[in-house]
């Protein structure tokens, strides 16, 4: 149990997706202008990562990993090169399904998410969650925790960045630095802060 908890913490803070691994930066920067949209994005990310990573773990172990077809008399079959296409398909389908379910049963939540859900299909962080799961050989429980943790870390980071950017709207910045430039510098400073979590983990 404590293993899973520490995996959650390390996925959320030490290996923070946007700030330590540079994943999902496009939406991270584009949607952090306003706190409400940042919060919506963060929640959507957590939900989609929490569902797709364990789902892809099942698919990878059951269908694609070397030796997965041993029961059918094909012990040498290695389909792991198909992982990329399979994962993208699963992610696209999950996002679509999630959108339909939310639209049907929870219209208020669906309206709050707005445009973010379909965008998530091609979010690098979501695909990366599944690829890391393969690279690090997570079990089903571990991958579920990892997915939720990374999503939560993303949500924390994007909400914090949007809060800082909202304050900066009134700052008198040099012309060239306005917008994207200062967002990068802010992300760099936050990344320095998050690096401290890595030190805490190493010091334990």
């Amino acid at each position: 149990m404590s293993d899973l908890w520490s995996l959650f913490l390390s996925a959320a803070f030490v290996d923070n997706m946007p700030l330590a691994l540079f994943l999902g930066l496009c939406t991270f920067l584009a949607l952090s202008r306003r706190t409400e949209s940042a919060l919506g994005l963060g929640i959507a990310m957590t939900g989609v990562l929490g569902v797709t990573v364990p789902l892809n773990q099942l698919i990878h172990d059951g269908l694609l990993a070397p030796g997965a077809w041993a029961w059918a008399g094909l012990p040498d079959l290695d389909l792991s090169y198909l992982a990329l296409i399979a994962f993208i398909g699963v992610i696209a389908a999950t996002v679509q399904l999630l959108e339909m379910v939310l639209d049907r049963f929870f219209p208020a939540i669906h309206a709050a998410f707005g445009v973010f859900l379909p965008l998530l299909t091609v979010q690098c962080a979501i695909l990366a969650g599944s690829l890391f799961m393969v690279e690090r050989d997570y079990t089903l429980a571990q991958s579920a925790v990892f997915g939720l943790g990374s999503g939560a870390g993303f949500a924390v980071a994007v909400v914090m960045l949007s809060a800082i950017r909202a304050r900066l709207a009134y700052a008198d910045l040099p012309d060239g630095l306005r917008g994207l430039g200062i967002a990068f510098v802010l992300a760099g400073l936050m990344s320095l802060g998050f690096a401290a979590f890595g030190q805490m983990a190493a010091g334990q």
Binding site: F22, C26, L127, A169, L180, G181
Partner: protein, 219 residues
């Protein structure tokens, strides 16, 4: 109507640079730039995938139903990425390990989908491929600049060859290990954006709270 290939090719280099102006493809631009060799490999892979994908999608653009075009585009891109990934693993095993999952992530690189969505879908294959190649070069330019700076100041090396003599080995240069960590990539890219926008003031964003008038990339 004559198509001005030269303008299509050179525009994305600096004036319409995909990374510094369009906010496309940043994720991988920062992650793989700890050394020049990985940055260069990534640039070449992305340019190849982007050019081929633009060509293929543009060639079949009249046959893709609008409602499923995103899926079709992603599958085409993913297939190309798998090919590149297998080639890298076979011939450049060491660099392929250093790039880790980021080669696979070319699939969801917003730059690829952004260009196919915004340009290849409406233009003939030759123009689409030139545009994709130009954007690939613009992306490569940013990667190589950042990768070169980080490797030079982080380790005193370029392509793994010692350029600045290290203090430990009797020279004068003390490596800045911060350059190899995540924050410096953000600072460098922020600085680069600042420099580019100061030289071309037209690119600076409007001072208002409102977002500038351009289509936000559908990542």
């Amino acid at each position: 109507m004559a198509t001005d290939y030269r303008a299509i090719l050179t525009d994305p280099l600096i004036r319409q640079n995909p990374v510094t102006l369009q906010i496309l493809g940043i994720c991988s631009a920062l992650a793989v730039t700890t050394s020049l060799a990985t940055a260069l490999t990534m640039s070449v892979s992305l340019t190849v995938v982007l050019t081929l994908a633009a060509g293929i999608i543009s060639a079949i653009r009249r046959h893709i139903p609008d409602s499923i075009r995103l899926i079709v585009q992603i599958v085409i891109v993913a297939s190309l990425v798998i090919v590149i990934d297998e080639i890298l693993q076979a011939y450049l095993a060491e660099i392929s390990r250093a790039l880790s999952v980021y080669v696979g992530l070319i699939t969801t690189n917003c730059l690829v989908l952004g260009r196919t969505e915004a340009y290849a879908r409406h233009n003939a294959p030759p123009a689409a491929m030139v545009d994709a190649f130009g954007n690939g070069l613009g992306y490569s330019l940013v990667l190589i600049v950042i990768g070169g700076l980080r490797e030079l100041f982080g380790k005193g090396e370029l392509f793994g060859i010692q350029v600045l003599p290290l203090a430990e080995a009797g020279g004068w240069f003390t490596p800045l290990s911060l350059m190899l960590l995540a924050p410096s990539a953000f600072f460098l890219l922020g600085g680069l954006v600042w420099a580019v926008r100061s030289l071309w003031p037209a690119q600076a964003e409007a001072p208002e709270h409102t977002p500038p008038l351009r289509n936000e990339p559908a990542e």
